[in-house]
Symmetry: C2
Subunit: 275 residues, 2 copies
């Protein structure tokens, strides 16, 4: 058994999605598309007599992480450092679950394949209600299009062959669990329509246009988010809302051009990796 192992998992901004529930959490998930980010979460796993989870120095409860440890039948100290805010649409809980699975497999010599580890993390995230598609997107990297929902044994993925500078501003949190436990019919209709558009034309301009339409039609825009998207449009930029958080993201220099002071990163070419 090694002393510790560390994985880096890119953040993931979902531009649009449709929810696809299933009683088996490894088959449940979402269709949609998003951007994986060079800003992400570094997760270090170290064997311990009792499991604890620490994010940016503070002990917290993250249900999918606990489930991953239990599934792998290990107890460990999980320490995560994140460049991204929690609860704001960057897939932090998914990143922590996936990073824990990869690092724990390594440090405890569990000998599972990548697909098996992604399945465990995806299932744990779905079961906790904290996300539906972040984990498979974060395992893939790039700008993933989730054509069919579920874990790696079920889903179908494609991607947009491009990369981009990404800017973002977070105004606050939205609860993924609250939105997903509510009425999702309208959201799912809008998500399917956005997906058709991006499958027809898998480019960045088409992705951000479809995302903006989705945010509006799904009724998820808050006042501040709408205002920032309009500000970016006023300077000929392209922005939309991160699903699900009170966060605006833009391609290129959209938010800075509009006078905001955004965080800046890029799309991440690779999926989650052991360091």
């Amino acid at each position: 058994m090694r002393d510790e192992a560390t994985a880096f998992v890119p953040g993931h901004i979902t531009g649009f999605f449709s929810a696809h529930p299933h009683e088996d959490p490894t088959k449940a998930g979402s269709r949609g598309a998003g951007l994986t980010l060079t800003d992400g979460v570094e997760v270090t796993v170290e064997p311990a007599s009792e499991s604890t989870v620490v994010l940016d120095g503070e002990e917290i409860a993250v249900e999918p992480v606990t489930t991953v440890l239990e599934t792998l039948e290990v107890s460990a100290r999980v320490e995560a450092e994140s460049e991204l805010p929690l609860g704001s649409g960057f897939g932090i809980s998914g990143a922590m679950a996936l990073g824990t699975a990869l690092a724990a497999n390594d440090v405890f010599g569990r000998r599972l394949s990548t697909n098996e580890l992604v399945t465990i993390a995806h299932g744990a995230e779905v079961q906790a209600g904290t996300g539906l598609g972040d984990v498979v997107a974060q395992a893939h990297g790039g700008i993933p299009i989730r054509l069919e929902p579920g874990g790696p044994h079920e889903n179908v993925l494609d991607s947009i062959p491009a990369r981009a500078r990404v800017e973002y501003v977070s105004f606050g949190e939205l609860s993924t669990a609250d939105v997903l436990s509510g009425e999702t019919d309208r959201l799912t209709d809008a998500g399917q329509e956005a997906l058709s558009r991006v499958v027809e034309e898998p480019t960045l301009p088409s992705f951000i246009y479809a995302s903006r339409l989705f945010a509006r039609e799904a009724g998820l825009l808050t006042g501040r988010v709408q205002e920032a998207i309009e500000d970016v449009a006023a300077v000929d930029g392209q922005a939309s809302m991160a699903m699900l958080g009170e966060t605006v993201f833009a391609l290129g220099t959209g938010l800075s051009d509009a006078g905001y002071e955004p965080s800046v990163c890029s799309t991440h070419p690779a999926g989650a990796v052991l360091k």
Copy 2:
């Protein structure tokens, strides 16, 4: 139309494989496993009135590249710079085909998805007989396990969740087309057995062990290659032969420890990317 676009495609060393012919080249391919490498090929595509292909400053004919350009209905100057030798088991022809597809899609605004571009490059490579699994592995990155053959709409991929320093020495060329056009029954049996082993235990030690067994059982070892593998084993290192080239690769410092002066790189965490 942009002036030019550049893609980087990682090299790919196949450790073992089994051939799976099909009359449709996008369904034909191989099962197996390999290492994608930080050493690779940079491919730049620039619109031109007549198509030409240049590798490391010299004009050459690369059938899969020509096929990719024809499929995309473009004529272009394709300029490739490679850190790896041609014909020695690093998937250079596949890398050039895939890099051409990604860069040409970008520069000519063809609006195809990643899976579509990989399908085109994979089909072109299979049709030319220059490779069966490099393109899908190079699009994936990491240490891909090819569970089911074919392009992205057909295949099933998994991977070994690890990374490694890789050393390699090339003694000369072997013709993939010659080996693949010969009797492949023995090779395919050995490849299936190696795959079962790696699926059972998806780790680096199991991959290199299965690869070595495959090289021996498939009857592909040359004298120089066998000698180098034994030299590495004598210093407790792990090495095998790159399929298909007269090339020995080792994990960690196996070849240097054995007194060779190898090229050194690492497994590449990402698949092919636009720069």
